[in-house]
Amino acid sequence: MSAEALQKPVDARWEMLRECVLYGLLFKAAMADWATLSTMPLKLSYQMLLEGLSRFAERKHWLLRQNLRRQGCELLAMRKQGSVYCVQVRLDGYVREALYSIELLKAECQERVRTWVVEQGERTAAGEKRQQNRSGEERKTS
């Protein structure tokens, strides 16, 4: 096997499976956090933010799940087992098990939240810039 080939994953479906599990947990965690926050007296409402995050993660989760199924990988069960998160899948007809460290999943979810927040910020900034350009052009033509 060449050194280049060794850099790439042997089966990309395992990577996709991890992403799918991560987004599956993220959308549930965002809604669970919203349920906790909604019982607290706060100055602002974070409903839109958490709902947006949860919707984004859920959409991603189902998209990945669909892609996995198309590639012969079906998610059968997910459950917590002590300090690991056990995911059972049917891969090319064989039942396999992935054991994710819960600490790692939590950290990776946190990373995806950070990326989502940055992307949302960039999208808002780009929208504002477009709006400014449009109003500048309108002023010129008038």
Partner: protein, 412 residues
């Protein structure tokens, strides 16, 4: 003709540091070390991440030395329970590839994939890569894999080649040894430490190839069976199986403590001896065993200039009672201690046998002592190791309270 085996040795890169980095994205791009007690700036570096290593920080150096090499070093307190849990998780991941998995240490495990290779495509490189990928994706830890037809070749493939390659995998083939392993310096041979290296240099042996070409009789004459083992290792010969139950058969139970300072008086050292005897006997009882040979070892702070002793004696009868063991340990200590400062103490109980049969005594109630010890063990198991302590452990010399918060001398 027997089929060649395919053995992997999987080693986790900077294991403790990698576990911490996987759990905390904020420190992933920073130089970190896992070390003793960051608040007290005490202890040694247990693991340094590759970024910290690039500043010259090494494992086992003192924390203050490491901090001098790298000013913005992030120091993380060890979490031994978590590391043990992750190690067991990795064993379970390996068991998806083969049932023959032998933990060699907390961060190294042997896998015999000979029988299951065909299930994963038949190419050892691909299987090793798949193992590596799974460990990375499920634990966030980078692993390196050495491949060989036996355990020593797999180990040397990992230590000498896989760790130094970007892809982290290397296959050390026996027929290619003259071009690969034999070219390396003698200290790269598995089983050769600094002392052995000096002996070989005195004999004019500097490379592994020179050792392999030395007549076996010369080595056995000088080192007996150990000489033969080294010669066989140099030739890549090893028939030992990968046995998952290797840690289930126990030959002895020992406990060792490195002290926070030098202990000078017999009274102080005996406090530690008693605490060690308590711990050894508690572990023996938990396995329903008792031992007949006690060994005691003491060493001074300067490990280069060896001071101290390691002696053993046979007891009149097998025991797992702390006070009986303590009496014997004190006897050995009084006989062999030369009044030099002591920095590390160890007690070992050997020649183990089941504790369901014992010689009754006419003069003492052994059964009563035994049930008292088991009752104390029950309380400790339920409420923690410091739930019941001997009064001497409350003295300045006592370490039992501090050790109750630790595993293997490091924080839980």
């Amino acid at each position: 003709m027997t089929r060649k085996r395919v053995i992997f040795l999987a080693d986790m890169q900077s294991f403790y540091a990698s576990v911490e980095k996987a759990a905390n994205p904020a420190i992933r791009d920073l130089p970190i070390v896992v070390a003793g007690d960051p608040e007290r700036r005490s202890g040694v570096v247990l693991a340094a991440c590759p970024i910290a290593k690039s500043y010259g920080v090494t494992t086992a150096e003192t924390l203050w030395q490491a901090q001098q090499k790298c000013r913005h070093l992030v120091v993380v307190k060890p979490r031994m329970e978590t590391y043990i849990r992750v190690s067991l998780q990795i064993t379970r991941i390996f068991e998806a590839f083969t049932d023959l998995v032998e933990p060699y240490s907390i961060d190294e495990q042997f896998l015999d994939v000979t029988g299951s290779l065909h299930l994963f495509g038949g190419d050892p490189w691909k299987v090793a890569k798949a193992v590596k990928d799974r460990v990375w994706m499920e634990t966030g830890i980078v692993s390196r894999i050495g491949i060989g037809e036996n355990k020593v070749l797999a180990k040397m493939a990992c230590d000498n080649y896989a760790k130094k390659r970007k892809e982290g995998i290397f296959w050390l083939k026996k027929e290619e040894l003259p071009e690969t392993l034999w070219q390396l310096p003698i200290e790269k041979l598995f089983g050769v430490g600094s002392r052995m290296k000096r002996h070989f240099h005195k004999m004019g042996i500097y490379r592994i190839g020179q050792l392999a070409n030395t007549p076996l009789s010369v080595l056995t004459k000088r080192w007996g069976v150990n000489g033969e083992v080294l010669w066989r290792t140099a030739h890549g010969l090893d028939e030992s199986p990968v046995s998952p139950k290797t840690h289930e058969t126990q030959k002895g139970i020992g406990h060792h403590m490195t002290l926070p300072r030098d202990y000078h008086t017999s009274a102080d050292i005996k406090v530690i001896l008693l605490e060690l005897c308590e711990e050894v006997c508690r572990r023996a009882r938990s396995k329903r065993l008792m031992g007949e040979v006690v060994s005691v070892g003491c060493r001074g702070a300067d490990f280069e200039q060896a001071t101290g002793f390691y002696r053993q004696m046979k007891l009149d009868r097998p025991t797992n009672d702390a006070m009986e063991l303590y009496e014997a340990a004190c006897m050995l200590f009084d006989r062999h201690w030369e009044h030099t400062p002591v920095r590390s103490v160890g007690v070992h109980l050997g020649q183990l046998q089941p504790d369901d049969q014992c010689q009754l005594s006419l003069f003492e109630d052994r059964e009563r002592k035994r049930s008292l010890a088991y009752a104390m063990d029950g309380i400790r198991a339920r409420y923690g190791n410091d739930a019941i302590l001997r009064a001497v452990s409350l003295l300045d010399a006592g370490q039992a309270r501090e050790r109750a918060r630790k595993i293997g001398g490091h924080y839980k």
